[in-house]
Symmetry: C2
Amino acid sequence: MKIAIDGMGGDNAPKAVVEGCIKALKEFNDIEIYITGPEESIKNELSKHEYDKNRIQIINATEVITTNEHPVMALRKKKDSSIVKALNLVKNKECDAIISAGSTGAFLAGCTLIIGRIKGIERPAIGPVMPGKNGAFMIIDAGANVDCKPQYLKQFGVMGKIYFENILGQKNPTVGLVNIGEEEEKGNELTKATYKLLKESDLNFVGNVEPREVPTGDVNVLVCDGFVGNTILKMYEGVAGTLLKTIKDEIMASTISKIGGLFLKPVFTSIKKKYDYKEYGGAPFLGVEGICIKAHGSSDSKAFKNAIKQTRIFYEHDIVNKIKKDINSNKTEE
Amino acid sequence: MKIAIDGMGGDNAPKAVVEGCIKALKEFNDIEIYITGPEESIKNELSKHEYDKNRIQIINATEVITTNEHPVMALRKKKDSSIVKALNLVKNKECDAIISAGSTGAFLAGCTLIIGRIKGIERPAIGPVMPGKNGAFMIIDAGANVDCKPQYLKQFGVMGKIYFENILGQKNPTVGLVNIGEEEEKGNELTKATYKLLKESDLNFVGNVEPREVPTGDVNVLVCDGFVGNTILKMYEGVAGTLLKTIKDEIMASTISKIGGLFLKPVFTSIKKKYDYKEYGGAPFLGVEGICIKAHGSSDSKAFKNAIKQTRIFYEHDIVNKIKKDINSNKTEE
């Protein structure tokens, strides 16, 4: 398969991007990479590594879209940006997938505007897979759609289920609705109406899931609007980060606790590994006419390599067509 | 002052409630308590303690509203419940404040329907104060209003500011809008419109606060709709709980780490204390014609005592009248 990589996306671009590509080429012999960005600077990074030159193409792009720019305006203005060039490779079927760690807004808008959404999908959605205590779980939508209708959320559930089943190998994954109460009648207008739709659907719907239960990972696919999903994602990062920082500060505050901290190093390493989002690659943007993976802005080369690994599985399992098929079969039923 | 206590509210009622009242009577000599519930069972609990009998009245109530009941229906049907009896004591000006650890839904609905809201307040809101890394912060609304208009959120900011300033002694506290992006133009329809209102207000508005930053406690009063606020509250509990449980499990998994765990006992005790919501008593329900405190369902006697302490400060600072004054002065300006 052919993968378009936004060479200038993310805090550590192009260095971490290029390193991730090199690692992936070594691990997977069935991929070719098209990396976009200023030719000289990408070449310079590549020159630090040994690799099969037939398997990496540099697509020159002189501009970069930053996270501070207005996504849609930037996409229109910067036709020669690394992200637009990468999106066009997928649009023109020169590549099968795109990965970017750049501006989330520009990436999501670009996937929808340039690559286009699947017919029948009302709103594409981003569905990161997160590490939970008892297993991985997906939040969909995690920020692409801040104002939603019940029907969108139902489709998020369908897309999330197909992705989770194929990529994480969980047959008939459970689907829950993020809500501030367990009972069917709880919540706001959106969740009350969505509950009914999910209950009537073919999904393995397990009802409302309170945010308190989210981090257990006991429910596989968690459906919500993008504002709530993004809040959950950021609270997850924020609370875990703050708490671990507090523990670290307290450990460093006395000699006794410093000694204890030494004994517990393997514990904290193991926890860090358990909650390492980098293991999961990037977040899939589902509902568009191509394989679109948003890597975390702070991705290192390992995260990039895992994102590439993820696009391979996405491709092998033909998820885009599976979503198409499911959405259209549901359409006829209604 | 006279305080009405729902003697049957919470997981540990009436035992923890009665114990909390006894502790408070010992600590504060200017309070009288009216405790509602089945006379015999309250008497039985009281008989285990020594106290000044002139300072506790039992108000017989034969029914209890559970958390599984529909709040408004239960309030209508169970006129002789401990919560309705306590609400009536405030409504009839026999008591100055009410504390309940019972059904949140019934308590909030009861405060609005029985005690009534302040004229000019569009929606009363619940604003728990939470422990943050660098200080306490308030989330308002944390669940009373799941579908909101921008004007409601502005009033939440005003009420939160008055409470925080008076109870936590923070002059001109900072007010932030919970949003999924820092820039003014980020968010959903509600937050975009609310941003404008808050910016134009007299509040010490510091702009959008991303959920990731919430746990730092760097912003004092965080304004949001009740669905988002409740999600934040429950994610805070859920992530912290899950993470600490994971650390505990990992520590217990090997002898080396068990030894390290022993060294770190003071660290974990200190963190537990730092993040102990019981220190803050209960969550104030602001915008109603009385002092209404919702204690946590799992409150122990210490949490009850602290909730009583909190109502005293609430009363001394005359917060209800300060809210009235501010809301009406804002009214004239507009």
